[in-house]
Symmetry: C2
């Protein structure tokens, strides 16, 4: 129905909806708290506390005034500092629709580099605060991603499933925008899933006319220099007539690109409204003088409004909107300005954010499983909130995107570390409850560089126990590699059974370490275990082929490392350099780092087989097979990227195969559904390709693949990256970037991350390669990717068997589940909602049609006896809430790609 | 008594008075209206309308908060745009002392380059508005000149006589400040007159600790970058303890320089408080956390306060303050940074302002004399308000001072022109009433360049009549020079009596005009009329002697023109260049423009004698004697100052005499009392002279002189200028400046004024020289200077005698006075106050002791029959108000330098 809080409009006129708004980055040039406080204004003048103070003051001055607020991370900070009286005033403004929350997540998430599970979490965090604080009137109706640099289909799908009425954004490819303006397709219906039944993932989507800025000449913020309305005829430069005429022109010009007699104008921008009086005073005058002309026959009606009120008018117009089914990547704002660099910028932060998600999910689960003692137990007070908020902030479109200043990147990482420190206590408490052992427990944070003091101690006879917590809904095989002192170890499981293991020097970190050099010249090298065989070229030391022994298929596979020479901006076509946002190689041909790799065979055994390849002092790789695994692991190490030659470098690895992929390749959207990509092509407009490399890059969050009729080579990655396929049979992944110039998009720094020991950051990561027939690929890559996202958590306890036997209640293993979930079902969320209830999200992790066996509806029974055994031990429970209605509250059917949310209310027995 | 609106203080503690304030220049980088609106924020972010909006909002949030407002020119603009509700709120804030007006003039006047009559007018304009609007609670108690660049004793005298309780300022010589800090003489009693009986001109005067800025690190305006108080321990960088400690340190440090346990901190600066929330929110926290430490033994008490509340505490301390009797000129903020350039900057604007004052006084007088028809009469609607306000604005310390941007200088001039246009109508109406003639009347604005279409018309027989209105209180002899067509003219007065006149080409404007060149080689040149003889050197063409024929005294007098080479800042001692504010010659030896002058004798007659000297294409002078006059007139023309050689030039004329002046010379203060100056010397501290020229410059507004036992050479000038005496017997006057660099004091432009026809402004002016025995000097220079300030207004009517006789009521002459005022009495003000009353200010224009005959008390009878005959024709009247009590309301006695103000209430008979 029509919302009473929306302003009246005039059907016979052109209605101009002025939407007063501020865009408050949750960290960018300053940290989120610096932005909140208004600290470090020498970097950027911005203080969110003052914005909210000022807006609330100004809204009270006139009931016609409206404001929308977006970023709950900031609003939350502000709200907790307000007096009861201010809170009462704000609540009334919200109830009357004068202050409206829009989007409402903890932040306005990045769309290219975020994983859907963290996006859903951060939306939940923000929306829950609004719901708890304001109830239904605080619920955002509209998704509002005015700044992210391209738009993911999965984001639209999530928004649709969350019940948003519509979605507005500001940035899209300039060619796309030009076409849409011409054809009046600035507003559309986005069908955001190929799996979900329409209209489940259908979302009205509008492109805003001026990005998220006001029309030129109408910016009245303290940060702007546009002329104020000078309506005192006794003072200099009375300009009412001129401004009104200009506004009428702007309105008619804009209306020409839209279908209805309603248009929207975003009256605000970055951190605006710190002194809201300037905006409102001038907009009051604008409205007064423009509408006064109606008495003289003008047909323009201007009013304060909100996106949801504007959207309501569009809905009332009852039009059919054009359909959109692909996404809005990549984003270019000019011919040589493709925002495809940030898909990879700050690879270490991107990995840390992804690992932190894994840890948060573990923390959440253990908070539930350990019960109340988790947050207040033998190891003190722990919580998952700190980590939730740190992750919420990290989803921001200048956080995990890598487009923030260096000091802000450090702040995001510090927040995640602090969050984890809080979680560590919780996890220790919870594991104490679950294991019955309160002896100290340590987490070895530096296993990636083979450091763990506990396991490395040099006692003559060393006993230690390791706990592995697997946050997945099913069993996983996970190789563990620990630094130890000595060569004789016995490894047993909880029942005393020996675990397959091997002791040896696994990693050669530098040339100083003496490794066993294999002479390539005399014999051909290959790695071979049960499922895979991989061969190396005798001459070059590069990979040469990959064979799936189960399906008996082989492809030629060459892999090497290259770098694109980043444009420095001194180019005759454009002055655009590569930077944190922009990828712009100055040539389509990357430099190869080395045509040959120096090979060091580290081990060839029945458990694991590894070959280390050295390409240069700053690029190396371990090629690795694990017994029982169906993926080939490429563990790359890149950095410090040298820049002494004065050249910025964008480092890729390229896989070249004999797969007949032609121009096609495939990339996931936020870690879920996969979209088809085609070189030099866009599905919705006739592309004029101006950047043959950068213009073909797309973001991946979890995987990419190429395929032909027979073969599909899938790469599962450990973090978000940029990928492309420039040649037939080829797939390239950008791994690291180090640049010398700022790219003029505001961050004001070249992306050149410092390292800890060297000049420049060293990044390390893993690519998991699977080779299958196309119709079997998903069965492998879906669980493989989920395993990469939710990794086991290792913790260690020092102790002799004697000490352990003292604790008679000690349990060696524990599962929260009655049994493994069905293969198609992913346990997306298990977290404590409040004292008496638990939030569970179950997800069908297959797309429609991608798996012969799994792309089917699947039913799960939520009864404790069937699924969540842990609940049995804790309490009785009832199903309180879910996202849709069911015939039975216990039987839940999931269709491909569906996510269902349940709030289980627990009652202590 | 103790004002109840002042905040409570703690006697046993150090009380820190935080004074929230904004300093709003009435024009500087932007025009006064641009500042008001917040227009042209690209030049400077400043919008006074928003400042007042914001402060009024914020004051309402907490009754403890205080704010002071200074510039009534802005407050007036704002007030007239406010709703009744806002006005009611503001009135309450004023009544409760939460908003306090300080200073309260139309602007914060410049002190070096303003004339006392215009200063009194602009103060009256502002204070009257406050009184009319708010009554007694709106009355400023404290004078507040925080920004002017040096301080005139006459200003202090005026403030004392106006009843201000005290005076605070920010700028004084850095050596003076250092000494005062050391000796705790930052606060003092200024005895501001040598003539008025103490305490008539005594004024408590305080030097503010940080100019008018907050202590370093405590600026919380939107324009500042200091860290906000971050008092949420859950957010980053909690800094309360650090800020509190820093504040305590700052407070104790400052207290060491002051005598009481009260100190003042100015919490604001230029155009601050546009978003007052930032300031108040952080000051609220500062006060809360600093005072919270009192519970732990801290002895610092910080509070919101105002200058008048601070002053009240000082008064309660009942101390004896050190006495100050000289002034605060010149002002230097560093060793090579003397703010003595602005004494002369923009000489044409300075003249135009002075002429405008004369016109405004005439306009005011004629408004009274012409009665109600003046403002609404045969020539339409006229008013004096527009001119009053334009003059009020022009007194600002970046207006007549010449330190504004060029476009702002144009704006001041435009305002004065507009003001005069309104006055012209009034004057036409008034003269129509007074003359009985309603025939058209024109004012020839371009007589200075010998243009007046009416008098130049080429009819065969031309009749025109000229009206001369003399605004002085006595008869004056005033030569009039008109351009005419033809050589046979008859000039008669109102009674038909022939007036002494002469027809000829008086002015040679360029070399193209053929003038009669006198051969200097063959004969000696002299000018000689009844009172003076002046001789020229045969060889050089320069003046050689001046003789007063009455007193029979002769001095050697050489005069020439020179230019100081302005420092460009590339100097090893300092990077300071000369600019709009700063005078810094790069050598103490000026370049002579020409050692010899080319002489053109224009006329030698019994009425007027003139010699024109050409020094260069851009420097010339007319040396002139008028019959019956006791002064030698030097009419100089300087410009366009050439800068093609890349050298900035500061042009002076220097008078070299055989007067044994030693290091002494004398300069007036704002056109009234004269102060003794001494080269390389300051009366109140041991000067270390670092700029031998610039450090010896002082401002004059009306006159300067040098003297010895026998002779006094006095120079009366037509505008404010900078003068010095570098050599014995020498007096130099800076006439014009054209510079190539900005001087880093904010204006951001080099002072290089464009001219109308040439590249660079041409300035022209007059110096009037009198030679007398010292004890007779004042008798000549006092009336001479007043005659220069209040010049006759000429107006012209076309017409034949026939046409004139038609108007039988036509009166040829009229006087508003029964008789000339006594020689010591100056009619300072005669203006319409409101419909029923008239404001009159009478002034004793002599200092004590300077005149044997006139430096005595003098009594004037205000009865119409004795003095103001015009009142007789208009109405009955009563004496309503005056600045002191009298035994008789009609008999008014004036002591030397005393000004008395009367409001005469008129009753129509």
């Amino acid at each position: 129905g029509v919302r009473s809080s929306c302003p009246a409009t005039k059907p016979s006129m052109l209605n101009v909806h002025l939407v007063p708004h501020t865009h408050d980055d949750v960290g960018w040039l300053k940290t989120v708290d610096q932005y909140y406080h208004g600290d470090r204004n020498n970097i950027q003048h911005a203080g969110v506390q003052y914005i909210l103070d000022s807006v609330i003051d100004q809204l009270q001055k006139d009931p016609a005034r409206r404001f929308i607020y977006v970023e709950t991370a900031f609003f939350y900070r502000w709200w907790r500092q307000q007096s009861q009286n201010t809170r009462r005033i704000v609540t009334q403004l919200v109830n009357e629709g004068r202050l409206e929350f829009i989007n409402g997540g903890w932040c306005m998430s990045d769309e290219a580099t975020t994983h859907y599970s963290a996006v859903i979490d951060q939306m939940t965090l923000g929306l829950r605060f609004l719901n708890d604080t304001f109830g239904e009137c605080g619920r955002p109706r509209v998704a509002w991603h005015i700044d992210p640099f391209g738009h993911a289909r999965e984001h639209a799908s999530i928004f649709a499933q969350m019940g948003y009425d519509g979605f507005f954004f500001g940035r899209l490819d300039y060619q796309d925008k030009a076409r849409r303006m011409k054809t009046k397709e600035m507003e559309m219906l986005w069908r955001a899933s190929e799996s979900l039944t329409p209209p489940l993932a259908d979302l009205f989507t509008g492109v805003l006319p001026n990005g998220y800025n006001p029309p030129e000449g109408f910016c009245w913020d303290q940060s702007c220099n546009d002329a104020p309305i000078r309506d005192d005829p006794d003072l200099e430069d009375y300009n009412v007539d001129e401004i009104v005429q200009r506004f009428l022109n702007v309105s008619y010009n804009q209306a020409a690109f839209y279908k209805t007699n309603h248009i929207i104008m975003t009256m605000g921008s970055d951190f605006q409204y710190e002194n809201a009086n300037l905006w409102y005073k001038n907009m009051d005058k604008l409205i007064k003088y423009v509408n006064a002309l109606q008495a003289k026959g003008s047909k323009v009606n201007v009013l304060y409004s909100t996106p949801s009120c504007y959207l309501q008018e569009l809905n009332l117009a009852n039009l059919t909107w054009p359909l959109k089914t692909d996404d809005f990547f990549p984003y270019a704002d000019d011919a040589h300005d493709f925002w495809t660099g940030y898909f990879t910028s700050r690879p270490a932060l991107k990995l840390y954010e992804r690992l932190s998600n894994s840890r948060l999910q573990t923390c959440n689960q253990l908070e539930v499983l350990g019960g109340p003692k988790s947050t207040s137990g033998p190891f003190g007070e722990g919580d998952s909130d700190t980590m939730s908020k740190a992750m919420g902030v990290a989803q921001h479109h200048d956080a995990v995107s890598g487009t923030e200043k260096q000091h802000v990147a450090y702040d995001y990482a510090r927040r995640l570390a602090t969050g984890w420190a809080h979680c560590e206590v919780l996890v220790r408490n919870s594991l104490a409850v679950l294991s019955g052992s309160e002896s100290p427990r340590v987490f070895c944070e530096n296993l990636n560089i083979s450091v763990c003091p506990l396991t490395e101690s040099s006692q003559k006879v060393l006993y230690f126990s390791m706990n592995v917590y697997n946050p997945l809904g099913r069993t996983v095989s996970w190789p563990v590699r620990l630094p130890v002192n000595g060569s004789l170890y016995s490894v047993t499981d909880t029942k005393g059974k020996t675990v397959d293991s091997q002791v040896g020097n696994y990693v050669c970190m530098s040339f100083k370490l003496i490794c066993n050099i294999y002479d390539m010249k005399s014999s051909s090298l290959l790695l071979l275990l049960s499922f895979l065989k991989v061969t190396f070229d005798d001459t070059t030391g590069l990979l040469s082929s990959l064979t799936n022994l189960e399906t008996n298929q082989t492809i030629r596979l060459t892999q090497n490392f290259y770098w694109y020479n980043a444009s420095s901006g001194n180019n005759k076509e454009s002055r655009q350099p590569s930077g944190a946002y922009i990828f712009r190689p100055n040539s389509s041909d990357p430099f190869v780092i080395n045509k040959t790799a120096e090979i060091q065979i580290v081990t060839v055994s029945s458990t694991v087989q590894e070959v280390t390849q050295w390409f240069s002092p700053w690029v190396s790789q371990v090629v690795r097979l694990y017994e029982g695994h169906r993926e080939l692991e490429l563990e790359w190490t890149v950095g410090p990227v040298p820049i002494a030659d004065g050249l910025g470098k964008e480092v890729i690895t390229r896989l070249d195969t004999d797969i007949e992929s032609s121009d096609y390749f495939y990339t996931d959207s936020n870690g879920r559904e996969v979209l088809e990509r085609r070189k030099d092509y866009r599905p919705t407009w006739d592309l004029k390709q101006t950047e043959p490399i950068a213009g073909n890059y797309y973001p991946i969050n979890s995987r990419a693949y190429i395929k032909d009729d027979k073969h599909q080579l899938t790469v599962v990655t450990d973090r978000s990256q940029g990928v492309s396929s420039i040649y037939n049979g080829s797939l390239e992944i950008m791994l690291h970037r180090r640049l010398l110039y700022d790219d003029f998009r505001g961050v004001g720094e070249p992306l050149s991350e410092p390292g800890e020991f060297f000049d420049g950051l060293v990044a390390r990561g893993r690519l998991l390669l699977t080779l299958t027939p196309p119709n079997m690929a998903a069965d492998v890559h879906r669980p493989l990717a989920q395993g990469m996202v939710l990794q086991p958590l290792l913790s260690f306890q020092d102790g002799t068997p004697l000490a352990n036997t003292k604790l008679e209640v000690c349990r060696g293993s524990f599962s929260g589940l009655q049994d493994a979930l069905p293969p198609a079902v992913h346990l997306l969320t298990l977290s404590q909602w409040d004292k008496d209830s638990v939030l569970i999200r179950l997800e069908h992790q297959y797309q429609a049609k991608e798996s012969k066996t799994h792309s089917q509806p699947i039913t799960v029974n939520l009864q404790v006896t069937h699924t969540f055994s842990f609940l049995l031990t804790l309490s009785n429970y009832i199903l309180l809430q879910s996202n849709t209605d069911y015939p039975s509250p216990w039987e839940v059917t999931l269709n491909p790609m569906e996510i269902r949310t349940f709030l289980l209310q627990l009652r202590q027995l």
